[in-house]
Each structure stands twice: as structure tokens, then as C-alpha cells.
């Protein structure tokens, strides 16, 4: 695997001419590496004239940024209004219970990261969750459990095969 700091260097170089580049740089890093660690922030500060404190300020202001890596399955639970009315809390309860993780955390086996997010704009499918970029809608407790079972099965098969 490539040295993460080299990746950071490349991303910074790509944004040399972008006005107000801090956020696109940090987004680039998170897209490539999955998170923005304090070490990466330090590196960005060295390569640009943006103080590390500013970068840290940005990372902690915007909810998109993560200072730690996510688990293998990144589960975003929509808490938009429609999802709330349709039972997002229940879905959250099931997910927390089944993965033994609480929202905002990653499970001990690094299998799941649960995250509450604001509306993902699929209100007519409420309640919805987004697992690794795929949206699952009209969830019930049963359906949510089934989806998780599917993931575990896939993983087991992957490990066998």
C-alpha cells in the first residue's frame, strides 16, 4: 500500500491553484484514505500555509470529517424528518442491538460503523439506511436484520472462497 503521507502530498499538489483549498484537500484525503488523522493534518499544514489549528477547526466543524477510520461496513442511518416519522429510531435500536455498537462508534471487531446522518433525500422510501453507498428503504426491524445477515453471510462466503 502506498504511504499515506505520499497520498496527502499528491492531493495537496493537485489543489495548488484552488482558491480556498482547505476543504477540498481534506475531502480528497478522506475519500482516498477513509479518514483524516491529526498526522495528515500536520502534513497538510506543512505543505500549505494553512495552520494546523485551522484545519483541525474545519475537521471538527463539519460532520462529514472523521478523525478515525471507519469499520468495514459503514452504516448511515437517515434521521431526516420523514424517516423519523416512519420509525428511524426503531431501525437504529435494531442496528445498535444487532451490531453491538452505538451510533457514532465502530464495533470492536471493526466490522461496523454506525452513524446518524441528516436527510439523504429518499424520503418516500423512509425509513432508509445507506450501507457502503447502497440505499435500503422501507425498513422494518425484520428487514434490517435480514440485511445485516446478508452482509455477514457474504463475508463468511468470501472468507471460505
Amino acid at each position: 500500500m502506498q504511504d499515506p503521507l505520499v497520498v496527502v502530498e499528491k492531493i495537496v499538489a493537485r489543489h495548488r491553484d484552488t482558491p480556498g483549498a482547505a476543504i477540498p484537500i481534506l475531502q480528497g484525503i478522506q475519500n482516498k484514505l477513509g479518514y483524516v488523522s491529526p498526522l495528515f493534518l500536520q502534513k497538510v499544514a506543512e505543505l500549505t500555509d494553512i495552520p494546523a489549528s485551522d484545519l483541525y477547526g474545519i475537521v471538527t466543524f463539519y460532520s462529514q470529517f472523521r478523525l478515525d477510520p471507519v469499520g468495514r461496513n459503514h452504516v448511515q442511518i437517515c434521521h431526516g424528518t420523514a424517516c423519523h416519522l416512519a420509525g428511524a429510531e426503531k431501525v437504529t435500536d435494531v442496528l445498535e442491538h444487532e451490531t453491538k455498537t452505538s451510533c457514532g462508534c465502530t464495533s470492536a471487531d471493526k466490522e461496523y460503523t454506525l452513524e446518524k446522518v441528516a436527510c439523504i433525500g429518499c424520503c418516500s422510501l423512509a425509513p432508509v439506511i445507506n450501507i457502503n453507498g447502497k440505499i435500503h428503504g422501507h425498513l422494518t426491524a425484520e428487514k434490517t436484520k435480514k440485511i445485516l445477515k446478508g452482509i455477514t453471510r457474504e463475508k463468511d462466503e468470501g472468507e471460505k472462497g
Binding site: 476543504i23 474545519i58 466543524f61 435494531v94 436527510c119 433525500g121 424520503c123 422510501l125 453507498g133 425484520e142
Partner: protein, 604 residues
């Protein structure tokens, strides 16, 4: 065109894809007879409640809509409809008779901003130009800035981002402002939970917004435009990028556009998950690479905006209207709507409504018509209680005010706002304290923290609402909430603080008795507040099938085969999972004994 060709359109916007439209598309693609079928991926037709949606247009021009289509259904449509010319009746999303009330979903709408959504291929510029695309730009470049602004003034277009500021005025001010360079920014941050108008437009018709931004840039004398799009909208961003590459290749973007002196560039900036960045000054801070903290206005961005230069910021829907107004003339727009609110408005209809989706109505249509004629009424079959417009900044409108016309003036008068277009329908089972709490929770999380009243006031209000929902409200709480809400409004600098007390203030105004029931009697009339309800097993109907036991996360249910089960109310966390799992209606939600009766028991 070959007169034996069938056109098949499949909606591939986010909600369609989430519902499984991609595999339906692939089924058609793999199995259709290419000589007789032309397959077109489109965006969102707005009929979200029966996605995946497939439209089949026969060689004679007759169109039918199939809903909830699976890959297997797709095969049947190919075999029966396309090969044999017979409509597959049981898959129809709408009856064949266009006069049927179900068609009111479309018949009552006026699709202006959405005219191409679900109709054209969003990833193909030719599909857009065939529908009249970029004609508005051509005409604008001939008319010149002054006449463009005049045209928008006559059209009466007002900003669709929430505030309703006249668009022509914003452009005029930015045009007149001194300072160079000038910028135009498209606000696609759409942070209101429950709103997806802008996402749908960008996914279904990105060129219309780009064309609007180009016209804006030309009218105010800008050289650079930005799209600020929420990061949660990856498909919208992808389609915008594709569209921008296409306009660049078609020389509609870059230097000397259409052989004029007008040169213009567009960049995309992704939001990073902060609701407050929808506010214009915060948005500009974010593009500048800083924390998105709103600043005091004036100076308005028109004078001093991005990088301290004059900047016009417009919402996605506002911009999508512009090329149509320019091409079709101001009258095509201003003939819709009311005296002061011209044109149409797109709403994202969601919640407990039968036909949820994206709808565009002429301003002035009343709430009942929107909920019942277009939305098809309440999905649960229970009584209609209220709608909520404008998300966390908005207010609720009770069913009694269902005759209220939807326009800026009338909504403001009853304490709600038009907002950006989120419209949530609520039934009897919705607890208004829960709704107010939900929005306030959102507000507290999203307050940037700059103004004390917004930062701490929302926290305090949330604490009070929480205690009310737990049956521990105090008689003075209602007054404190009203007072604090009003103070947050006047004590906050930006629109966030100024508007987030609205959900509480309007529920207080229209559903005061519900607050009183929680506070005085400890009852949640909608039976939603967990601390005020109990789950019980109905002994007569329970068949001890064990499903609830399996579903319970805290093992609060026990029982023996052949006997009714029981719920241990001390362990029970009131998550309601048992209720969902029960197939025999044997679980019931009850209110706890009221405070009043408890008090009497104590006396005895």
C-alpha cells in the same frame, strides 16, 4: 423516426435506484429488441411512491406508466406490451383512463421547473437541447443583461431557497455593485431534513441549472460560477460533472461563449455536512475554505461576497426556472400563481401520505388540495392532523387551516413559512411535542455556536421539551418556551437562529392542548412519548407464537406455550419492535395511569 419504435423510459434518480431501478434497466437492456425499442434512462418523474417507474410510449404516441416494476415484471412488459401490443394491466401505476382521480397526481400539477425531470436523459446534452435547452441562454446573450433582468422582474420570479427575495433585484444589485471579479453561486446545500427538490432537479435535469447559472453570470457580469452541493448527494454531483464536461465540449462554457465576449467558468464545491452552510454567508465562508459561520449582513453578498467580491447566490430551483422564463417569455411563468407570489413551487411531499413524491404546484393552491387531490390522502387511513412546511425553520399548519392557499403571504400570516419545499404530512398518530423536539434537536446540533441565544437557547428549549415528553413538564413550561423562542428569534444573527424556534412556536399555537395533556395529565395523546406509554399483550388474541420474544432486544417478554405472554414493564424500553413483529394484533399501546388518578390513589 421509425414508426414501429417503442420508447421505454426508466427513472434512474436516487430514489428510483434505491428502489431497484438499475436491475430493471439492465433487464431491458439485455433482452430488448434494439430495432424496435429505444431505451432512455431518465431522472425522477416525481412519482416516488411507486418506484421503480417505467414509462412505455408506443409507436402511436400513447404512453403508459408502470410502477413498482421488478426485473421479472420488466420481462413481462417486454413480452406482452412491446412484442404483442397489449398493456400489462396489473402493473400499471395509474389507470389507463386519464380522467381517473388518481391522475390528479399529475393533472393538478403545473410542471415548469420540473418540465424535463423524468422526461429527458440527464446524462445527454442532446436530450436537453432537443427539449429547447440552451435556447434561453442564446436569447439572453442577444437581449443583454438589462433586458434579462427586466424579463425576470416581469416574470415575478422570487428566490426558491426559502426567503423569496425577488431574483431580478438580487441580480440588479450584484450587477451594479463595484468590485471585480464577480461571482455567481448556486446553493445546492439542501439541508432541510425532508426536502429533496434540489437533489431531484440536479439528478434529473442538471443542464437547466447550469444554463440558469450561465445566464446569471452573464447578467451580473461574473466570470466564475460555483455549485455548492451537499456531499450527501453523490449522484447529483456526478451528473453535474458529466453535464459540465458536455457544455464545455459544446463550447457553452469557457471563453467566448457562442462567439460573444462572454467568458465563464464553473466549479463544483462539495459541502461537508453542516446545515448552517445553506445560509448564504456561511456558504461563502465554506467555499473560502473556512468553518461555515454566518456573518452579519449588511454588507450583503451582492456587495461583498465570495473573496470580498460582489456575489449573487441563488437556489437550484430558482435557477432552473430562469432558462425557461428567458426562452418561453415572462408571461409563461407569471400566468401561474397569485398576485404577489407568481409562478409555481416544487414540494417534496412526504410523511403519512399515500402518494409521496416531488410535485410542482401553481402558487395559491390550498393545502387540502395538495394533500388529498395530489397526495391521495393519508396513508394510514387515520385522520389528517397537520402538515409541516419549511423543515426546522418552518411551522406546522393544522388540518383546520386546510383551506389556506400555499403562497408566501398566506403561509407567513399563519406563522408557517413556504421554506424551500419540504412538506411533511402528519396523521393523528404523530405527537406534536415529538415533532417539535425532533426539529429542535436538529437545530441544537446544527447551530454554529456563534450567537449565545441560538447556541444555549436551543439547548434549553430542548431540555424543556424533553422533560415534557417524559411527563415531567412544569405548568410554567409553556410560557417559558414561548418566551425563550421569541428571544432566540431576536437574539440571533442569521436565519438559523431566527427561524428554528418556529416549530415549537407554531405547535404551541395550534396544539397547545397537546402540550397541556403532557404537562398536566402526563398523557401523550398520540401515544408516542416512550415515558408515557406502556406496551401490553392482549390476552384474548395472543397465540404465544414467540415472535415478539425473538424481536425484543431486552428480553422483557416471557410466557409459556398455550398461555398469553406477558411484558415486564420495568425491563421494557418501549421500542415497539414487538408491536411490529406481532401478526395477531395482540399487542396494544396504552397510556400510563394519569397523574390525576395517581394523585387520587395517594390520597386514598
Amino acid at each position: 423516426m421509425n414508426d414501429t419504435i417503442y420508447i421505454v423510459k426508466i427513472g434512474l434518480a436516487s430514489c428510483g435506484i434505491a428502489a431497484g431501478a438499475t436491475s430493471v434497466y439492465q433487464t431491458f437492456e439485455a433482452q430488448m429488441d434494439r430495432d424496435h425499442v429505444s431505451l432512455i434512462p431518465t431522472g425522477c418523474l416525481g412519482v416516488c411512491y411507486c418506484e421503480p417507474l417505467v414509462e412505455v410510449i408506443s409507436p402511436s404516441g400513447e404512453s403508459v406508466l408502470y410502477g413498482n416494476v421488478t426485473p421479472k415484471d420488466a420481462q413481462q412488459i417486454m413480452e406482452q406490451h412491446i412484442n404483442q401490443g397489449m398493456v400489462v394491466q396489473h402493473l400499471l401505476a395509474f389507470p389507463q383512463d386519464r380522467e381517473d382521480p388518481e391522475w390528479d397526481y399529475f393533472n393538478k400539477q403545473t410542471r415548469f421547473a420540473l418540465q424535463n425531470c423524468g422526461v429527458i436523459n440527464p446524462e445527454d446534452i442532446n436530450s436537453y437541447t432537443d427539449a429547447g435547452g440552451y435556447q434561453g441562454l442564446k436569447k439572453s446573450l442577444m437581449l443583454g443583461p438589462e433586458l434579462i433582468i427586466k424579463e425576470l422582474e416581469q416574470a415575478g420570479l422570487r428566490g426558491r431557497g426559502g426567503a423569496g427575495f425577488p431574483t431580478y433585484r438580487k441580480w440588479q444589485l450584484t450587477r451594479q455593485a463595484v468590485g471585480k471579479p464577480k461571482y455567481v453561486v448556486c446553493n445546492a446545500d439542501e439541508g432541510d431534513p425532508g426536502a429533496f427538490m434540489d437533489r431531484s432537479i440536479l439528478e434529473s435535469d442538471p443542464h437547466s441549472v447550469i444554463e440558469g447559472l450561465l445566464i446569471a453570470g452573464y447578467a451580473i457580469g461574473a466570470t466564475q460560477g460555483y455549485f455548492y452541493v451537499r456531499a450527501e448527494y453523490p449522484l447529483a454531483i456526478k451528473r453535474l460533472r458529466i453535464a459540465l464536461d458536455q457544455v464545455r465540449a459544446a463550447k457553452l462554457l469557457g471563453t467566448h461563449i457562442l462567439d460573444t465576449d462572454f467568458s465563464f467558468e464553473i466549479d463544483i464545491r462539495e459541502g461537508a455536512g453542516a446545515f448552517v452552510c445553506g445560509e448564504e454567508t456561511a456558504l461563502l465562508m465554506s467555499i473560502e475554505g473556512r468553518r461555515g459561520m454566518p456573518r452579519f449582513r449588511p454588507p450583503y453578498p451582492a456587495e461583498k461576497g465570495l473573496f470580498h467580491c460582489p456575489t449573487a447566490i441563488n437556489n437550484v430551483e430558482t435557477l432552473a426556472n430562469v432558462p425557461r422564463i428567458m426562452y418561453q417569455g415572462h408571461a409563461a411563468y407569471s400566468k401561474h400563481g397569485t398576485e404577489q407570489s407568481k409562478g409555481t413551487k416544487v414540494f417534496a411531499l412526504a410523511g403519512k401520505v399515500n402518494r409521496g413524491g416531488l410535485v410542482e404546484i401553481p402558487m395559491g393552491m390550498n393545502v387540502n388540495e395538495l394533500v388529498f387531490a395530489i397526495g391521495g390522502g393519508i396513508s394510514t387511513g387515520k385522520p389528517f392532523k397537520a402538515i409541516q412546511t419549511g423543515g426546522p425553520s418552518g411551522g406546522c399548519i393544522p388540518a383546520e387551516l386546510g383551506e389556506t392557499p400555499v403562497d408566501y403571504e398566506n403561509l407567513a400570516q399563519i406563522g408557517a413559512i413556504m421554506g424551500s419545499g419540504g412538506l411533511l404530512v402528519m396523521d393523528e398518530d404523530t405527537c406534536m411535542i415529538d415533532v417539535a423536539k425532533f426539529f429542535l434537536h436538529f437545530a441544537r446540533e446544527e447551530s454554529c455556536g456563534k450567537c449565545t441565544f441560538c447556541r444555549i437557547g436551543t439547548e434549553k428549549m430542548l431540555q424543556i421539551l424533553t422533560r415534557i415528553s417524559q411527563g415531567e413538564g412544569k405548568p410554567t413550561d409553556i410560557q417559558v418556551l414561548a418566551d425563550l423562542g421569541q428571544k432566540i428569534q431576536v437574539g440571533s444573527m442569521c436565519g438559523l437562529g431566527q427561524s428554528v424556534p418556529n416549530p415549537v412556536l407554531t405547535t404551541l399555537k395550534y396544539f397547545r392542548q397537546e402540550y397541556e395533556a403532557h404537562i398536566d395529565a402526563g398523557i401523550c395523546p398520540a401515544k408516542q412519548c416512550k415515558s408515557l406509554i406502556d406496551y401490553q399483550i392482549v390476552t384474548e388474541t395472543c397465540r404465544s407464537c414467540n415472535l415478539c420474544v425473538i424481536s425484543c432486544p431486552v428480553k422483557a417478554i416471557s410466557g409459556k406455550k398455550g398461555q398469553a405472554y406477558q411484558i415486564n414493564e420495568t425491563t421494557c424500553v418501549r421500542c415497539g419492535l414487538c408491536l411490529d413483529s406481532c401478526r395477531f394484533n395482540a399487542i396494544r399501546v396504552t397510556s400510563l395511569p394519569t397523574k390525576h388518578t395517581e394523585a387520587t390513589t395517594e390520597v386514598i
